[in-house]
């Protein structure tokens, strides 16, 4: 039964309001980019959830490997001096 090639999978990103980033909401299947926008609109914005849509073929997404999470993200953990709360500034010093 499954001899037919499926429509490719697209990931859908939606900007809910002006001023916000596009956020991943899920995926849809579509045969082409124009259809992907329409399907994303019909599936994910039935209740005014968005003002802008991005779609990208799922196969085009490059993701980091969770097994490499330590190598990628641990090194940032001990760089506490990157955060403003690391520094003790006397109360008398203002607007810093």
């Amino acid at each position: 039964m499954s001899t037919q090639r499926e429509w490719p999978l697209y990931e859908v990103f939606i900007r809910a309001r002006g001023g916000l980033d596009h956020k991943h909401v899920g995926s849809i299947h579509a045969a082409d980019a124009r259809m992907a926008i329409e399907h994303a609109r019909d599936v994910y914005t039935r209740r005014q959830e968005g003002i802008s849509i991005w779609v990208v073929k799922s196969s085009e997404i490059v993701a980091s490997d969770p097994a490499e999470a330590d190598a990628l993200f641990e090194p940032a953990r001990d760089k506490v001096y990157r955060h403003p709360t690391f520094y003790d500034i006397p109360d008398e010093v203002k607007t810093l």
């Binding site: 037919q4 499926e6 429509w7 999978l9 899920g26 039935r46």
Partner: protein, 300 residues
Amino acid sequence: MDTEALERQFQARIDADERIEPKDWMPDAYRRALIRQMAQHAHSEIVGMLPEGNWITRAPTLKRKAILMAKVQDEGGHGAYLYSATETLGVTRGQLIDELLDGRARYSSIFNYPTPTWADVGAIGWLVDGAAIMNQIPLCRCSYGPYARAMVRICREESFHQRQGYDIMLQLARGSDAQRRMAQQALDRWWWPALMMFGPPDADSKHSAQSMRWKVKRFSNDELRERFIEFTTPQAEYLGLVIPQGEIDWSEFRDVLDGHGPCNRERLAARRRAHDQGRWVREAALAHAAKREARLREAV
């Protein structure tokens, strides 16, 4: 790391209420159980469009028609969210649909019951969506991230479904003798199947214990069923309708699940027909996309 250590680490993450994401390591059994449950859930939404869809063309007012269309459309949307979440586990929607159409996959047996009157549309919204919401709210916190996120979206949208169903029942209960009779008969028809939606009694539920350990499930079948009865009873009283008395007939549940319900054949036949009749359309869209890409390449 050996499998045993990975499994210990995995269970520790679950116990700490962490969410599991698609590319994280997970035991095969967890993946399989999720695919089975999520696909079943997605199929239920899609097959669930049919009994109510049966009344779109006959809704008694234009307002009711619009509400019903929007509701049936939402069910399709919920199916889409759930297929999308299931596809993150490494299966394709095409595979899942094939399993539904050739009878290997299951869907909620409630949708094998017919909707002979308009009151059935009300009873489905009130009872079936009511039971579904009760089952689904705990899933918003389930351990698998994409499933939990899909469920948050679904639960947010579902809240109007139950209310519109009760609103239909209320109007019927306040109506003519014929309308009240229609409402009572629909309650009689849907009460037991709705209670069966929570699954077999805890003692006979073969997947429950492991699902609880994995935090895919958070309450037992019987707990949820009792809560549903407690919530629904006063709602029926307010309508002036009588809840049927007696015991759940679990042999009916098994028979319907095994394909011997009043509409099992029609439901699957409808899905197969749509799939088969849509084949040339889906192929045409792919063929057109390929032509367009080839033209673009030539132009470069």
